[in-house]
């Protein structure tokens, strides 16, 4: 069970959060312009990184805010959290 620092509420137990997968996959602004291949890239294809990954989390049972997290998926170490729209802190 992780101990996660919500950028708004502070340190909380993992049970208050939901994970939302890889971060910084922007929804295409003009989906109709995309080929089936390109749309599938957005929809399904994931880096699924073993190592340092940028991902989204939601403080579902707290402030309900989404935020980003940098976490090493090989050992579950959380490196940083930052708000949506913010640049990832340089690691």
């Amino acid at each position: 069970m992780f101990l996660i620092t919500c950028p708004f509420c502070g340190e909380r137990e993992q049970s208050e959060f939901k994970a939302g997968g890889e971060a910084h996959i922007e929804r295409p602004k003009q989906p109709t312009e995309l080929s089936d291949d390109e749309w599938a890239e957005y929809l399904f294809m994931r880096k699924n990184i073993k190592g340092v990954q940028f991902e989204r989390w939601n403080h579902a049972h707290g402030c309900r805010k989404w935020f980003n997290m940098i976490r090493d998926t090989s050992n579950d170490t959380i490196k940083a959290v930052y708000k949506m729209g913010e640049k990832p802190p340089v690691k």
């Binding site: 939302g20 922007e26 989906p31 089936d36 309900r64 989404w66 050992n75």
Partner: protein, 1002 residues
Amino acid sequence: MLKNLRVTTSKYIDKTSRVSFKFNGKAYFGYKGDTLASALLANDVHLVGRSFKYHRPRGIMTSGSEEPNAIVQVNNNTALTEPNVRATELEIYHGLEATSQNCWPSVNFDIGGINNFLSPLLPAGFYYKTFMWPANFWEKYEYVIRHSAGLGKSPTEPDPDIYDHKYIHCDVLVIGAGISGIMAAKTAAKNNLKTLLLDEKNEIGGSTIFQNSKHVKINDQNSSTWLENEIKELRNIENLEIKTRTSVAAYHGYNYLLARENLTDHLPKNEKNKKIRQRLLKIRAKKVIVATGSLERPLVFNNNDRPGIMLSSAVKKYADYYGVATGQKNIFFTNNDTAYESAISLNKKGIKVEAIIDIREQSNTAFTKEAEDLGIKVYRSYTVVNTEGYKKINKITIMELSSNGQSFANQEKIELDCDCLAITGGWTPAVHLFTQSGGKLKFREKDQVFIPDLYPSDQISIGSSNGDFELDDIIKNSTKSLKEFLNIKETEFDNLEINCPKDKEIRNIWLLPSDKVLGKTKPFVDYQNDATAKDIKLALREGFKSIEHVKRYTTTGMGTDQGKLGNMHALGIIADTAGIKVGELGTTTFRPPYTPLTFGTMVGRNVGEYFDAFRRTPMNDWHIENKAEFENVGQWKRAWYYPKKDETMHDAVQRESKAARYSAGILDASTLGKIDIQGTDSSEFLNRVYTNAWSKLAIGKCRYGLMLNEDGMVYDDGVTTRLDENHYIMTTTTGGAANVLSKLEDYLQTEWPELDVYLSSVTDHYATASVCGPNSKKILNKIIPDLDLSDESFPHMSFKNAKIDNIKCRVMRISFTGEHSYEINVQANFGKSIWEKCMDAGQEFKITPYGTETMHLLRAEKGFIIVGQDTDGTMTPIDLQMDWIVSKKKYDFIGKRSLYRSDTMKEDRKQLVGLITDNPSEVLEEGAQIVANTNATPVAMLGHVTSSYYSPNLNKSIALAVVRGGKNMMGQKLIIAMENKNINVTIVDPVFFDKENVRLNA
């Protein structure tokens, strides 16, 4: 002959408090403070159980949680029974009944013992090589195998005991209250840190507390005396909580630990009642200090498993702590000095020590000298090659070792009589929790131990769990580590004067040589699972090289003791056989829990009514009072139907449906999700999340919306009402409410942060009563006389604010049944009252409450879908023949792009259609498959029935279904292929009733 072997007094045994108990049906007594093991030993009972595979007689080997052999069934044949309880951990209480397990008819005469003679045919992995013929016989072989395997018996009745959970957040957690743990806890707490000290035993102090050697001193005091004073002080420190009988089970990441606190297992039966039996502590510690001590290693030699063969430290503890002599003719067998220390202690209590067999060529410390001075015969450079005595050891054979330790100096055999053989092979740090936390070990060649190396979180290991075995090392190194770890300058242990014998040596021979060929011997490595050194060698011979392979092939370390005693020997024997170093081999993974954890403890109070939350509507009490049957919908309890006396569900639903169509019905729709949407971009937001257009919806109007996933599949639906220019209220399905809100928030916060929109759940704020039927208008008129209900003022798909008795409410004229109907939304605490008011007002029209089943039937007559029943995550709106709701004009909405993929555009996808049966009274089974031709194998399936009812309003069976290419198959005949028959059906339009929607405005 029954002997009492309680030879000395002990301050930990309360001799004034006799405790009677039964073992294998026979009455015994012990004292308060005894474990079942110490009490049995005091009564000269050594034979306690039978081993897993060969059913060999086994006795008590240890004095703690590492016990592999002495496991018993407690309270057999009662609801309180428990299998596989370690006699060494179980504190006796009045009324305790324990029995041996894995034996039949009795532990003294066990038919299964025949396996011992068949053992040449049962080497490691024998079952992989046989039982394959005839091919269909495996289940018969398996039946026999299963019945001879297993240990104790599962309870067969529900558990009457109560369990609980407790979250604890502390600055420092200290695991293990031996001398180093006590020093750590005291230091932390005195430095203003909120500290928790846990120990699995009933008393704290570890093994130092019964240390009595004159050679071991702290500040010139006996170390046990010194520690007793420390413990006295400890009890008065603020910030420090001490929990005994508490075993840390698991050490997870981020210093999250689980511990089991045992609260009543040691109490007499009449005192256990209604108290919490065990509590799971969920501990989040800023810092963790692991002081879990070390486990004594046995020695691996032929027949090293007989009752009466015990760990040397256990023999000492039974004598020093419990005051019990484990034998009257004791022999020690050792590779280190601790056996001498134990032998001296026994000797001083008048317990006879016949000899010490030492595999070392020499040793010269204060202990060895004292032992020899006391006249104990020492055989140096000797090893035990065999033991005798079926149910208890009575003789050993020893031989002199050659200098390399792998063979013998000569062929001379010496036989020695004994009734207890105390063995020690050195010590293994208890690094289980450390490695569970992700810690990495390193191997110390000198004494062949794995010790902590890299810490994955804020923690340290101290004491013998860190590989410090001597008192001076323990105190000095622990003090130093604590200062660094807690960032403090000094501790009260900085200047202790410590005396203890030096220059101790150990000689490690993982598998001691035998005078027989290995194949004829039984040198056990894993006692419980009967894995021997020759099994390990067989595995290696067969190509199983990895330690994990060996472990799995031989089952070494897979018993209930998780191989706490034998794992190191397994590694050592593998390393020796393969000619590599133990350190290069690595360890096997230690998996949680450290000691087995009761399911009840894991679950706590999350059983029975607290297994999962119940959600109830404001009208729930009324439904109960009116004998509704309930249906689980997610966590909600929804009224399903309201049977009158003797009515079946079918009868009730037919009655309810007719009432709703021909007079008036009322439904509790409070469970539907309701999301309050405000902000200047609310219309744009709805445009993006629903498939249809919202900008032009007039204030006061309602509209049905369909929401897709980004993959184009229908996700949720519901009616959304425009309350004001920038204010909407959205309804969702009952089951989808939470997910829809979460998904919408996700889009708002991450994809469209520029939109000025706020979402708030108001699901629980409103109670919703839906009144439908031709008389609904009249009923509404009675309740809200001042509301203009004319079609002009209040048409279908519109809403009005209203007041009922000074209470504000919202009334929507929307319909899921096809009837003229109203949804009254009122603040929840008035919900039941509104409902009753509707019932009163509707009495003259025989207003009939209806449940979800009738609601389903009525909407099916109208061809309205239920998301999750008529859709399954693979249906697009086009598949549902709801093209009308998919805006062609809108540039984008969630899921739009996916509708234009090559497969989602195919004409022959499954599409929603209606079905009628040739025989109008035959109701189809929901889930039944639809085919065109039943002759082929496999039968090609075209789709399935999603909803099916007998319609009282149409007097025939109707169904909704999805059928491949169905929308172009109107009027075609198909077959419902049931197990015993085929049912002929015709594809029809899914709207069965009132296609022109006349009734909406009736």
